[in-house]
Structures are given as C-alpha cells and as structure tokens.
C-alpha cells in the first residue's frame, strides 16, 4: 500500500501544547494558568444579537468575504482605534478566527521554497502554516535582554534572497511583549529596503497597557505590503464564535478570498451578526476587560518578582513570561513538577519555540482570587527548589 500521507504533514510536529494538555487533563482537581483565552464570557448584548439573528432566520451563507455591514464596521473600527484606512468592498476578508487568516494569507503569498521569517517565542501555528503553504520557516530567536522585541539587526541577519514574508506577532503570545512606534519604524526600514511583505498578527491589539497599540500597516508605504490580521476572540471574549478578519491590499485579499471561498465558503453567519453588535456598541466592554487585565498583570508581575522569579514587564496580551532558570530545571521539568506537586498547570516556554527554554507562560485570564491561590502554590514550589 502506498503511504497515505504527504511528506509535508509528516514533517510537522504536533503542538507542544497538545502534549502538555494531555498530561494536565488526566490530573484531577488541577487548577490552571495555562489558558490562552479570556475568562470573561462574551458580553450579553453581543450574545443577544447573535440569538436575535437566529430568531430572525439569519441562518444562510453570507457572501464569501463577509457581511457587508460587518466589513463596514471593521473598517470604521480600524480607523477609529488604530488609524488604519481600508475600504470594505475590496480590502477586507472575514475569516474563521485569526487562525484561518494566517493560513490563507501564507497560502496566497508563498511559492515553494519562499522563506518566511518567524520570530519566536510566538503562537504555535505560524511554522506549520508556512510549511503547509510550501514555504520555509526561518526562525528568529527573540531575546530576553531585548524584552523579546524584534530588532532590525535580527531581521537583517535572517534575510536571504529567498525571504518573502516577515511575520510580526505583536502584542505577543506568549511573552506579552509589544513593539512601540519607534521600534516598528526600524523594522519598517528593513522591510521596505529588502522588499519584504508583512503578515502582522494583531489579535491582541486591544490589550496593550500604558500605550495604544501601533499597527505596522499605519506607516507610509506599508499598507501595500502588509496583511493585518485581527479578530474578535481576545478583544471581545468571543473565542468560541470563531471569527477573525484580514485586511490588506486588494491584490492579495482578492486571492485570499479565493482560498477562503473554496475551503470555507464563509465565516459563521451568527457570529458575523454578533460581531456587528460588538463593533457598534462594544467599546465599553473593551475598556472594562482591559482594566481588569491590567490590574491582574501588575499584581502578577510584582508577586512573581517578590517570589523571586525574574519577570520582564509585559505591556501586551494577557501573559507574563517569567524566567525559571535559577531553579536549575528546564521549562518542561518545571511545568511537569509544578503540576505533579502543586496541581497547577502553566505552559512551558518551549511550547512556543525552543528559545522559550528557561521560561514559562503564565496567563492572567483568571480572577484575582484564582491568581492568589496559584501564586501561593508557585511560591511554595519555588522555595522548595531554591533552598
């Protein structure tokens, strides 16, 4: 019998998170700080609008690129909050979560052998999606001493004549790192000089602390070479609705729509109606959740430092990324032992790239009460290992 599988898929490793998930789910009464989704439920007025759309019988396909009113609201939202200018008819594609947008952007842009720069630690799907699109991922290892920001030198060092796309994963999952306007300006220079394209995953754009998120697409000359990916999961606590979007130049979006059309048809209709309500009347929800995360973030960073785990201050997303090297354990050992001894699940930094070794991803998408319990456990655990 012939091998039923493609060479590419057999080369792709299962997600490191998956492996850890299997261990955690077998443990009874474990508590977790390992979740990459908001603890808030979707605000009721948004859910209610979804329900109402079902009652009205809005149960059919929408046009491939998404509901006209949703695309209009997306453009008005991006203009209002991030100074980005896009036209609803040609430059927006509504997708099944940001994940689909990442996948089809890469598939639309890559030819076999094209290289894609992937800064790590970062979200688990970039590398597999590049490979599935026939491209070659080139990892850029971000450094703790740079607060896990991407630098011009790192990009320059990784560029070859085959480099086509740079992935910009900021605000970053798992480190919580962000890029300021000045830091982005340096990257913009390289991108334009070397004629690269950018896929900017801005799914955490509403969750920056102390400064507003700046999109790389806002820089002069960048709109035509950037696909911005965003969605509703993190900002409006709508993970289960599976709704995201990509905006970019018409010539790329047009072809992404083709892939989306043949593979997916359209994003879920109910979710699209709910999302219209989110964008029209949800600014208050954004603020409420942002403030709650910000309080927990400060609380967690200071408490971890007091416990003796060095932790750079993350200004984005809802993760902290403390360094655990002083315990002498690897990230995986630490996570496994913490789970075994204290029944507390956190994610080893290595799940987001090998340069995450020595770090843990701790999520603060949890109530302060839960964080307090978890911190007590971490403190007890760390004390035992640093005597």
């Amino acid at each position: 019998m012939k091998n039923p599988l493609s060479k590419t898929i057999t080369q792709i490793e299962p997600s490191g998170i998956r492996k850890f998930f299997d261990i955690v789910s077998e443990m009874k009464d474990a508590i977790s700080l390992g979740v990459g989704e908001p603890d808030f439920e979707t605000p009721w007025h948004i859910r209610e609008e979804g329900i109402y759309s079902l009652e009205k019988g809005k149960t059919h396909y929408t046009s491939n690129a998404g509901l006209k009113e949703l695309k209009e609201e997306i453009c008005s939202y991006l203009k209002r909050r991030f100074c980005l200018d896009y036209t609803p008819a040609k430059e927006v594609l509504v997708t099944v979560g940001g994940s689909e947008a990442i996948d089809i952007a890469l598939r639309a842009m890559l030819d076999p052998g094209d290289e894609v720069l992937v800064p790590q630690p970062s979200y688990v799907s970039y590398v597999p999606c590049v490979m599935l699109a026939g491209g070659k991922p080139v990892i850029i290892e971000l450094k703790e001493e740079d607060d896990f920001k991407l630098t011009k030198q790192e990009v320059l060092a990784a560029i070859t004549e085959k480099t086509k796309v740079l992935i910009m994963p900021f605000p970053n999952n798992p480190t919580g790192s962000i890029m300021t306007r000045e830091e982005l300006a340096e990257i913009v220079k390289v991108v334009q000089e070397k004629d690269l394209f950018v896929i900017s995953d801005e799914i955490y754009s509403e969750l920056t602390y102390g400064s507003r998120h700046v999109s790389i697409a806002e820089f002069p000359g960048m709109k035509e070479r950037t696909i911005v990916i965003n969605g509703f999961s993190k900002s409006y606590a709508m993970t289960g609705w599976r709704l995201g979007y990509a905006v970019g130049p018409e010539e790329i979006i047009e072809h992404m729509v083709k892939i989306h059309q043949f593979a997916i048809m359209c994003a879920p209709t109910t979710s699209q109606y709910a999302a219209v309500e989110a964008l029209r009347n949800g600014d208050g929800d954004l603020e409420m959740m942002h403030d709650a995360y910000d309080g927990r973030r400060r609380f967690l960073v200071k408490s971890l430092r007091e416990i003796g785990l060095p932790c750079f201050e993350p200004f984005g997303a809802f993760y902290v990324f403390p360094c655990i090297r002083k315990t002498g354990m690897t990230s995986e050992q630490f996570a496994n032992e913490l789970l075994a001894q204290e029944k507390l699940a956190v994610v080893p930094g290595t799940a987001f790239g090998s340069c995450g070794e020595g770090f843990l991803r701790i999520s603060y998408a949890y109530s302060i009460e839960n964080l307090k319990i978890a911190l007590e456990r971490i403190e007890r655990f760390v004390k035992n290992y640093t005597k």
Binding site: S25, G34, V35, I368
Partner: protein, 170 residues
C-alpha cells in the same frame, strides 16, 4: 500641586472601581494592581471613609441558601411634600426605622421607593399598616414582595458559574 491632586483623584476612582465589586481586596493587593505604594492606597481609602464616599463594607449574602427566613418587600409610597423641606423630612422619618433597608426618591408615578427586610410577611405587613401607612404625609402605599432574587449589586445569585475553558490552550 494641581497635578498631584489630579493623580490622587484618579487613584481614588481606580480604587473605588475595584472595591465596588470586591471589598475584600487588601491595600497591599490594590497597590500591586494599581502600581502604587500600599501606603498611598491606605491613605486614599481613609480619606474616602472620612469623606463618606465609602459609607460601609456590607456583605452580599444570599439568605435563601441559609436556614434563616427573610422577606424583602419593595413599597411604592406617595407622599405630600412639606413646605420648605420637600421630601427630605418624610424620607428621614421613614429611613430611621431599622426595618428599612433602602429609601429612594423617585421620578414618575410615585415618590419614594422603600425597601424593607423582615423576618416574615407578617412582620412586613405590620410595619406597613402600623408604622408607614398611618404617617400623616403619606397618601398611599403599594407593597410588592420579592419572590426570588436573581442578581444584586451586579452579581448573579442563581446558577453555578463554572470555568468552561479547556485547561490548556495555545
């Protein structure tokens, strides 16, 4: 000086926002969450207590889950306002009773909302017929008993809230 005052006001507002739903947060915890010194929080809270901005720290109890019988009634009251004192004097005569939980002056079809907590329906009935209704300025009362409390002070009292999320997600 002006900037300092502004900062203090912002800190107070931030503290209130957080303790509004959780009075158990300590000054230390609040200081960690707000990125300031513990002492600043303690001073701000003390000032707000002195200024009666913070008037108390009651506990939200769902008495239905205890053995104690308790009845809540909402009474719509129509009154004759008194010259020179408006509704304040009559409101005061009502809110001074221990049984009275809350009193609000209302716009619309009646004047005062009076919320009573009693041990039994009889106790509430006795209060309304014996104390409240006979007051001179009171024209009429309409008593509504609470059958079930679903939500109070922004907190849902019915149903268990469970974390539906998977334990680990990317």
């Amino acid at each position: 000086m002006e900037g300092k005052k502004m900062e203090r006001e912002q800190l107070k507002e931030a503290i209130l926002k957080r303790i509004d739903k959780n009075a158990k947060l300590t000054a230390k915890e609040l200081s960690l969450m707000l990125g300031c010194e513990e002492e600043e929080v303690a001073t701000a809270v003390a000032e707000m207590e002195a200024d009666s901005v913070i008037c108390g720290y009651p506990t939200l109890i769902d008495w239905d889950k205890t053995n104690r019988e308790r009845v809540t009634a909402l009474i719509e009251v129509k009154v004759t306002p008194q010259r020179g004192q408006g509704f304040d004097r009559i409101a005061e005569r009502i809110y001074k009773f221990d049984e009275v939980e809350s009193v609000y002056l209302m716009s619309g079809g009646f004047d005062l909302t009076v919320i009573i907590d009693g041990k039994s329906m009889r106790e509430v009935a006795n209060f309304v017929s014996g104390k409240l209704a006979p007051m001179e300025a009171i024209l009429s009362t309409a008593t509504h008993f609470v059958l079930k409390k679903y939500k109070e002070h922004g907190i849902t009292l019915v149903g268990e809230v469970e974390d539906e999320r998977m334990l680990i997600t990317p």
